[in-house]
């Protein structure tokens, strides 16, 4: 007789009607977002596809060389070349476009929120549990409102990716701003800096290396969402993985999978390299 008594509260229903309410009330807003997001993705995608394939490979080499080493540059361009030989060039470009768009939006939203949290302990206090929830909620769940607001397609993928990938950049921005050496802040204050000058000239630049670490994490999480997001109709490498699962096509599954791994390695190493470049000279206060 251990069954739970028959009391039903269906919080789910409330959430459902809340979401519908939002959808109808802010329809114009969602249309606007849809437009901006899809234009951005398509723009980036078109641009990447417009680049001759060899030029893209050279660019990757140069990035790898500048932020890491020559060997890294060579390795990364070989990876990209291999993805091309799998016949996944276009899918790769779409995936990169989705990730870039997601990350850019993450930064635009995340950095100001992080800064605000650093300045207001109260805001930080209420925001933190939300961030925890965003990160621990199974990422599939985000797909539902995504479809609801934006229908099937890349924009939904971005929306779901955003929610999942936003927390690290917010958290690390807050941490980074709070961590700036007190004496450095005071010395800027003692010269009569305004709050805005302080933020722009001192706090953000000082915080940049840590924020970059957040960007790195956010990017990696966006990449991790690639396959999941393809369930709501995102194209790109994730879609190929999904197709291969449906067809039980081991060859395609492996090629698409390893392509994602290659991208992950390249993006991780390069963003990491960027963070390290920023780190230079900023260790000492």
């Amino acid at each position: 007789m251990g069954a739970f008594p028959d009391i039903s509260t269906s919080i789910g229903d409330y959430v459902d009607s809340f979401v519908s309410f939002i959808d109808t009330t802010f329809e114009g807003f969602f249309d606007f977002i849809y437009l901006v997001a899809s234009r951005t993705i398509n723009g980036i995608d078109d641009f990447l596809m417009f680049l001759p394939w060899w030029l893209f490979i050279v660019l990757i080499f140069l990035l790898g060389w500048y932020f890491k080493t020559v060997v890294a540059g060579v390795l990364y361009s070989v990876f990209i070349f291999l993805i091309g030989t799998f016949g996944l060039w276009e899918d790769m470009m779409t995936t990169i476009a989705i990730i870039l768009t997601a990350v850019i939006i993450c930064l635009i939203i995340g950095i100001p929120i992080g800064v605000w949290m650093a300045f207001s302990s109260r805001f930080s206090l209420v925001t933190r549990p939300i961030l925890d929830a965003m990160q621990t909620m199974p990422s599939f769940v985000y797909l539902i409102p995504a479809i609801f607001f934006f229908g099937l397609g890349n924009v939904s993928a971005i929306f779901a990716t955003l929610i999942y990938a936003l927390p690290p950049v917010i958290r690390l921005t807050e941490l980074a701003i709070r961590e700036v050496d007190q004496e450095v802040i005071e010395s800027a204050q003692s010269f009569g800096s305004s709050r805005w000058q302080m933020l722009r000239k001192i706090q953000l630049p000082q915080a940049l290396p840590t924020i970059m670490a957040g960007v790195n994490q956010t990017t990696m999480m966006a990449l991790a969402m690639v396959v999941i997001a393809s369930m709501v109709g995102a194209s790109g490498l994730g879609e190929q993985v999904l197709v291969s699962i449906n067809r039980i096509d081991i060859a395609l599954g492996f090629e698409a999978g390893i392509s994602i791994v290659f991208l992950a390695v390249i993006i991780d190493r390069i963003t990491n390299g960027v963070a390290n470049k920023f780190q230079k000279h900023r260790g000492v206060s």
Binding site: D181, E183, V184, E186, S187, A188, Q189, S190, F191, G192, S193, S194, Q197, K201, I202, P205, Q206, L208, H281, R282, G283, V284, S285
Partner: protein
Amino acid sequence: MTTKIKLEHVSKIFGPKPKSVIPMIKQGMSKDEILAETDHTVGVYDASLDIKQGEVFVIMGLSGSGKSTLIRCFNLLNKPTDGSIYIDDEDIVKYNSSQLKKVRQEKIAMVFQHFGLFSHRTILSNVEYGLEIRNVPKEERREIAMKNIEIVGLKGYEDKYPDELSGGMQQRVGLARALANDPDILLMDEPFSALDPLIRREMQLELLDIQERLQKTIVFITHDVNEAFKIGDRVAVMKDGQVVQVGTPEEIIESPANDYISEFIKDIDRSKVFQAENVMIKPNALVSLKDGLNVAIKEMEENGISSVFVVDRQRHLQGIVTIDDAIKGKKEKKSLEDVLSTDVTVVQKDEYVNDLIPKALESKYPLAVINEEEKVIGFILRVHVLAGLAANDVNESDEYHA
């Protein structure tokens, strides 16, 4: 000299309800009692100071005595819980934020213990910072910054980053950055404490040198007594958040206000604080050249001394004559000029006792002390130099003279 900064009954309490503690302190509760009972920390209590235009004012005290808390009130990095702070006769505690910004931009600059440099900026743009936020045009602020980088001796380093410089050099950047704003007042919170003793000494001299040229009003914090007495025109001693004594280094050494201060200055190297003027004896007798031998002998006999300085009408030193030489000279019918010995060591009145020691040891006559106009104002015997080193009142050595 005009008053530049005036503090009236400034208190700074840390805690949730700082104002509520003020009456308790007035009732005489100690810092520890207040901490135990109300969980408030008394940073500074009832500090009143009067800092003059162009002086180097040192605040010293043990760790935790409230020095930093007090100096941070001067530019309102700490807002006083109670009291007023007048800069050029205006109470800055009452300022609104834009007035405050203006004072910080134009009148007061601060140098920090750990330098507080902006690690993401080059030396040049660190030094430019204060001008940059005042929207000084790029060309102009570059020029001013370069000039100040040169003043602190860092020319050629302007494109380096702070982490590429040694500690001493970093603090020079801190100093240049403060000077670039051309402030009237320079606040320095233990600026040299993080430096090696050798570099530190060098920086102290350099600061005094810069001060001589630029004539800023400097408020300087240190917990090192020797540093305090070396660079301070006047020194305030703090204990448990209160200012317990203010005075010139000599005043504090000669009459410490209480045991705490005596203990504090116990280890002071007195020879580097006391100057010739402080240990010399004012001569009862001086003989003029035209007075002749008889007068000289009479003066020495009357005053019970064994030698006397001979001066001209302007009191410029001509030489010294001993009683033996004088008597011998009189028998041989010589004049005062003939028996005069010119082998006298002359010292300035502001020479430190430390520098007098070798001179006193070498000279067979007393040292002659002169002022800026080269007039003789006193003499120093070996024993006076030694007395200057000992803790007792120097005047006790009077009886030894002759």
